[in-house]
Symmetry: C2
Subunit: 308 residues, 2 copies
Amino acid sequence: MNDTENPYQAGAAFTQDGFVPIGEAKISVLDWGFTRSDCTYDVVHVWQGAFFRLGDHLDRFEASMAKRRLAPPQTRAEMEDILHRLVAMTGLRDSYVAMVALRGRPRVGGSRRPADCDNHFIAYALPWIDVIPPDVQARGGHLWIASTPRVPDASFDPAVKNYMWGDLTSGLMEAHDHGFDTAVLCDAQGYVTEGPGFNVFIVKDGAVLTPDRGSLGGITRRSVIELCLDEGIPASVAPITRQMLEDADEVFTATTAGGVMPIARLNERILGNDRPGPLSARLKNLYWRRHADGWHRTPVRYDAVVAK
Amino acid sequence: MNDTENPYQAGAAFTQDGFVPIGEAKISVLDWGFTRSDCTYDVVHVWQGAFFRLGDHLDRFEASMAKRRLAPPQTRAEMEDILHRLVAMTGLRDSYVAMVALRGRPRVGGSRRPADCDNHFIAYALPWIDVIPPDVQARGGHLWIASTPRVPDASFDPAVKNYMWGDLTSGLMEAHDHGFDTAVLCDAQGYVTEGPGFNVFIVKDGAVLTPDRGSLGGITRRSVIELCLDEGIPASVAPITRQMLEDADEVFTATTAGGVMPIARLNERILGNDRPGPLSARLKNLYWRRHADGWHRTPVRYDAVVAK
């Protein structure tokens, strides 16, 4: 199929309407996935024709659905099949693939009970776009420590990947107001948590640390820790105070949609020489080199689209 | 138009697709109003052909949009016109009318900046359905004090009506697990806040109190306080501890979609004679009687649909 003729070139989606071009991928304005943000999601990336850690993403997605009592009709195998097929439909070699489980709407008119709803599954594959623009990646990100406290773990489990970004969006707008690229939030007790869509790491005296609270159990975070173990770099998940962040030798972030991202500025502080720190840059390079080596790789079944 | 022929009988909506039957009212799965719950909403009711406190709802909606830097292209007058027209299209005399301002999607591909998004406005009118079923209204609601702490005001301003219901949904599921109708949440400091979609009130020694924190500034709440003032009943917005709630003489809730709702059971405690308390029932009756008297009434412009 010629790319210019492929209606899925800009992205393909699976919704309650079946497989559709991304421009037609919609949900009802009455879906509780929207009106109560009663849903959970996950995002896996495809790099050079293969999913990265697909099984880990599906494991996390299943755990999140269970915690929120979301049970779409598809089995895990069926969901996985839909993800392959979506990428195959786009023909993309590098893609960003999202899956969402939504509460849906009550079977019984007027019910306000989550248990009365028909849950459903949507997914979509989009062309890969770095969360962090290439020029920002080259110079190192500018990270703002936001004044808005992160929603506490007790109010909503941050291990359930969710769309309730109000506190993160407030932090992001504050960062932009100060001319920064993005924000990291601390909790009300002053411990570092995460930013909008990424985990944060500090490097201190050669050791790598990432927060033990207020954060998603990121798959890229896990990859970074594995890389550290492989390389003999001490790495731990631990409490990190705002002061520890401010006093770090290096800071970097990690996300599925961008990988490892070194930070060059933290509020008024310029880290190192205003460019990516050496250990951060090393981990970033390793992360992609290991991709090329076939690390945690699940080749996309591009023939899936033919087998429709 | 014959009701059986009206395609808007089940509800009418205004979306980016224009005016559509409610079944076709959808948003993109990529809209940040969904993927970041980056939106605010309001709901006004229509009773016997007239909006109740429409100006107050629009005031609150405008204030919420400003706080979240949401600026859809419509003016307030245009939004108001859309609301009238939606009700007129349905032909409903009793309706529940929602308006939502969404962040939309970035104008610039790949941008992660809220300021780069084209915000938009959607609205819909649905047949009136009591949030609380009639049989529950007659016996008095059974309210569960949830163990999940309400998201703190510092993390997200509860005066901005929002769809980030994760904590409320957790409380609601816990209430249902215990055989209760709905839940009220306390904050981490043990103060009573609100429930999923309603404010809560206590009556103690003849005085009415409602929480000063963790709560939406409800329009029905305001109406209840006005009724108390008119009737010479002491009413205040004040800190309410969980203990005060448990020791209350009466408890009731208030919401646009159901009005005043007396509570008959609170966890293991049976209030009064396991039926609506006298002051709660009086306020409930007054609330509707005042509607009939034309209180805060804005007649729906049913001719709006003709003027299309």
